[in-house]
């Protein structure tokens, strides 16, 4: 593995800090995230309330901390779901040519032709809103894209001679996929996934924004922005705080994605998409 590129370091540190803060969130929050405080309603950012207070007098900084792990869970969870479902599908489609491949890829074409937001809305309209359901919905939305990426990577690797050598040893399909293909497939897949995390967090917060995220009183950054809409002109900090944190997280994850690409698969640098 060549030298750790600078981008990966910078991005990694930021994401790491956010994850740690998210994990410790509820405990290190200066105030009780859900506690009402009628006297301190809609206070601008100050030394006591770093990010100001919301319509119920709750400390926005504490809520951002408490809500952080929901956003992260939503983003990374959804990506993992799309990985866990999409990659095996893609590899099977690459390995078993013929009608299985046709069936999987036609299904993928169908799902990809529905814009992500609509697909998310439809899935969520069927089930009650909730963090896990939103994560599942966002995960399912990205399964087709993951399947396509996995199939492309699979096809490249299946053309390699060491796979034919395995066939020459009479190895079964499962062994080839698990022992020969998968260990070589995960670097390009990890790079692709790291880019998908941003989209997953974006879609997750967009769906919360449209009203279908986790349940009150706990909240998620996208939902906090949504809830802050009525007070935007009068108390913009309620929406700005989670918004800026979301941007920082997304930029950091993007930078980590670029860094991973330079580290793991210099060949991929050409195919940034």
């Amino acid at each position: 593995m060549n030298r750790i590129p600078r981008t990966l370091l910078v991005g990694g540190v930021i994401v790491g800090v956010i994850c740690i803060l998210a994990a410790l969130g509820p405990w290190i929050a200066p105030f009780e995230p859900d506690a009402f405080n009628m006297r301190a309603r809609l206070q601008p950012p100050s030394t006591t309330y770093w990010f100001g207070t919301d319509e119920f007098g709750r400390d926005v900084f504490s809520r951002v901390l408490a809500g952080a792990h929901h956003s992260l869970l939503m983003g990374f969870g959804a990506t993992i779901i799309s990985l866990v479902i999409g990659v095996p599908l893609g590899l099977i489609a690459a390995f078993r040519r013929g009608w299985t491949e046709e069936a999987i890829m036609r299904g993928v074409d169908l799902m990809i032709s529905i814009p992500p937001v609509l697909l998310g809305l439809l899935i969520l309209a069927v089930t009650e809103p909730g963090l896990l359901k939103t994560m599942l919905a966002v995960g399912l939305v990205y399964v087709p894209i993951m399947t396509r990426v996995a199939r492309a990577v699979g096809l490249d690797l299946l053309a390699e001679d060491f796979v034919e050598a395995a066939r020459a040893r009479g190895e079964g399909g499962f062994h080839i996929l698990a022992r020969e293909i998968l260990p070589n497939a995960w670097p390009p897949l990890i790079v692709e996934t790291s880019l998908r995390v941003t989209f997953a967090i974006l879609l997750g917060s967009a769906l919360s924004f449209l009203g279908l995220g986790p349940q009150p009183p706990d909240s998620e950054w996208g939902l906090m922005i949504a809830e802050s809409r009525p007070f935007i002109s009068e108390a913009p900090w309620i929406g700005l705080a989670p918004g800026l944190c979301l941007c920082l997280l997304l930029i950091a994850v993007n930078v980590v994605g670029e860094g991973l690409r330079d580290l793991l698969d210099p060949r991929l640098r050409g195919r940034g998409h």
Binding site: N2, R3, E160, D161, F162, E164, A165, R167, A168, R169, G170, E171, E180, P183, N184
Partner: protein, 659 residues
């Protein structure tokens, strides 16, 4: 006054891990009308010379030279204006050198428009005639076509036409024919020879193939790891080489005219680290004649950079211990294949035309411990045949018997154990995420040969078998050289103690010096383990060296088959004759005129029925060849040729390799 005068050219690239000194103090001169060959193995820096001359080195390249003159002008300033006008370039891979979205005609005409200021139509017309001059029959049609519609040979002719558009005085050729089949290579070499004599254009030919340089060039420069080690007239240097590296190269070269008599002498060790160039002789660690004094700086004296050159002139290049090349009795049959056929691209939903038959009714048998060489140009179906025999590819029809038992389409695990394969490309044959130990252990456990500590010992035995230290067990593929990876591929194939091995172009991707070592290894393994090989290669020289019997394949069928010596000598099948005469052999200067040339190449469409070689056969007898399938004629011990030419006439053919 020489046309091109390079004195003291040094070049270094800046990389993440420090500066790489690709060229150190290289000097060469090419007189007007002269041709200089620049020979070296991969990593010698020969291609950088071409880029340095043209001023096309990327950033991070530091170039220093005392003199870099072209016709008196300093190239470091003038290169920009001379490129394409007075200096033409032909790169190695024609497919990559042509822009996929522009027509051939326009790409040839572009220099004319740029430098001669011709109008578009005039330039295109000139381009068309230029293509004609390059031997392209339907030049107008080719001019309108796009690169992906042309065969390899056709594309290279177009690239040469582009280089010659503005009648340059100097032509730089970087491995011009490496990517081509040997018969097409021969046509291109003829063309270059004609151009040189008719137009008096001087050439700098960069190549790793000594035969080509011997044929085309007057002068020769040998590069080793960025330094000129020998320089001088071509014929003289190749017949009596003075620098140990040149002698090593020639000793390692399998020669079709010598067949299996001489055992190859590989050059041990690997390339030196270009980041810390040694002051002394950089070939010392691999040189059998090295002494302490070699550590002192070696100047290039009268064409050779070795102070002991005169001293060691008489001593022969040491040939490693001669394996007991016992002549084995005629081996009883191990593998029997009859009527194997396989076609690709059959009538799909949209394209109605019938599939092309890659392998068309081939029968062959290989005895226990026998090596059958299978030779043919690219696209003749030899790799497909190799996979059909191993049941890795389903055959449309045909039977296979192994050790007397019939092998069904879904081969048994036992057959899998006893029949293995070695691949061409070392980088692709090993799983990059597995260590050598894991790669070699898997077949052992898969076939239950050994496990646990016993398997570890078995892995060490395999490594010793392929002459690699046991410490290589923990290495990953990216920590090994091409030759070493190929040895691991062989070791992995031998792990299941097979009786039969298919070597599909096993040494084609290796440099000559490393190739010789692997060939010797394969020969020794066959003698020690009694393993039979189906040795597939496009290089008839390599096949001639290793094979007991040779089969020549053309468009899916075997046109000639027999013992190696019989096939290499007349009577020949006309295709075998053409193949042998096309191979550029070092020191065969006189053969140039009597060469036999084929028309077109493998992809030119054959006629339906009759002899499949008729449309390209120089000895075509008339429409009998087009209509009747040729009979199989028997000569001597199992030497068969499928041709309409009467037996006596075939027997009376002159040898294609008269030395």
């Amino acid at each position: 006054m020489s046309l091109l005068n390079i004195q003291g050219l040094s070049l270094s690239y800046a990389t993440q891990r420090g500066a790489v000194h690709a060229l150190q103090d290289v000097s060469l001169r090419i007189p007007r009308g002269g041709a200089m060959g620049l020979v070296g193995e991969s990593g010698s820096g020969k291609s950088s010379v071409v880029l340095a001359l043209l001023g096309l080195l990327g950033e991070g390249a530091a170039l220093t030279s005392d003199k870099l003159d072209f016709d008196g002008k300093d190239l470091r300033q003038a290169a920009e204006r001379l490129r394409g006008r007075r200096i033409g370039v032909v790169f190695q891979d024609p497919a990559a050198a042509l822009n996929p979205s522009l027509t051939i005609g326009f790409q040839v005409a572009e220099p004319l428009i740029q430098h001669r200021g011709l109008a578009r139509e005039a330039a295109l017309a000139r381009a068309e005639s230029l293509l004609g001059e390059m031997g392209i029959t339907r030049a107008a049609e080719v001019a309108r076509a796009y690169p992906h519609q042309l065969s390899g040979g056709m594309k290279q002719r177009a690239v040469i036409a582009t280089a010659l558009a503005c009648e340059p005085e100097l032509l730089l050729l970087d491995e011009p024919t490496t990517a081509l089949d040997v018969t097409v290579e021969a046509q291109i070499l003829d063309l270059l020879e004609k151009l040189r004599h008719e137009r008096g254009v001087s050439m700098l030919l960069v190549s790793h193939n000594l035969g080509i340089v011997d044929r085309l060039c007057d002068e020769l420069t040998v590069l080793y790891a960025g330094r000129v080690v020998e320089q001088g007239p071509c014929a003289e240097t190749l017949s009596t080489p003075r620098h140990p590296y040149t002698r090593g190269l020639l000793a390692a070269l399998p020669r079709v005219d010598r067949g299996r008599m001489a055992r190859l002498a590989p050059i041990p060790g690997g390339l030196p680290d270009l980041k810390q160039p040694t002051p002394g002789c950089n070939f010392q660690p691999r040189c059998p004649f090295a002494v302490e004094a070699c550590a002192t700086p070696q100047p290039l004296l009268d064409g050779v950079r070795c102070h002991r050159a005169a001293e060691i002139a008489g001593q022969p290049w040491p040939i490693p211990e001669l394996g007991e090349s016992v002549v084995r009795p005629v081996p009883e049959a191990l593998l029997q294949a009859e009527g194997l056929t396989r076609s690709f691209g059959g009538g799909g939903l949209f394209n109605k035309r019938a599939g092309i038959r890659a392998v068309d009714g081939v029968s062959l048998q290989i005895g226990r411990g026998e090596v059958l060489g299978l030779v043919g140009e690219s696209g003749c179906g030899k790799s497909t045949l190799g996979r059909l025999v191993l049941r890795l590819l389903g055959a449309d029809s045909g039977r296979i018997d192994f050790d007397g038992k019939n092998i069904p389409a879904e081969a048994s695990s036992e057959f899998r154990r006893r029949a293995q394969i070695v691949f061409q490309n070392p980088d692709s044959s090993l799983n990059p995420r597995q260590t050598v130990d894991e790669a070699l252990r898997r077949p052992l456990t898969r076939f239950g040969i050994a496990s646990g500590a016993k398997a570890t010992r078995e892995v060490e035995r395999l490594l010793e078998l392929v002459r690699l230290p046991a410490s290589y067990r923990s290495r990953y593929p990216h920590q090994m050289s091409g030759g070493e990876k190929q040895r691991i591929g062989i070791a992995r194939a031998l792990a299941s103690r097979p009786d039969f091995l298919v070597c599909d172009e096993a040494v084609s991707a290796l440099d000559v010096s490393v190739q010789a070592a692997v060939l010797n290894l394969l020969t020794d393994l066959r003698d020690r383990l009694g393993v039979a090989y189906l040795f597939i290669s496009h290089d008839i020289g390599v096949v001639a060296h290793i094979a007991d019997r040779i089969a020549v394949m053309y468009r899916g069928a075997i046109v000639e088959e027999g013992p190696a010596a019989a096939v290499l000598a007349p009577p020949y099948h006309p295709y075998t004759e053409a193949l042998l005469s096309a191979v550029p052999v070092v020191g065969a200067q006189s053969r140039a005129e009597s060469r036999i040339r084929l028309k077109g190449d493998v992809s030119t469409a054959p006629g339906e029925g009759g002899c499949r070689f008729a449309h390209r056969c120089p000895r075509r007898m008339g429409n009998i060849c087009d209509t009747l399938t040729p009979p199989v004629r028997e000569f001597g011990t199992a030497h068969r040729i499928a041709c309409h030419i009467p037996a006596e006439e075939l027997a009376a053919m002159p040898s294609a390799m008269a030395v």
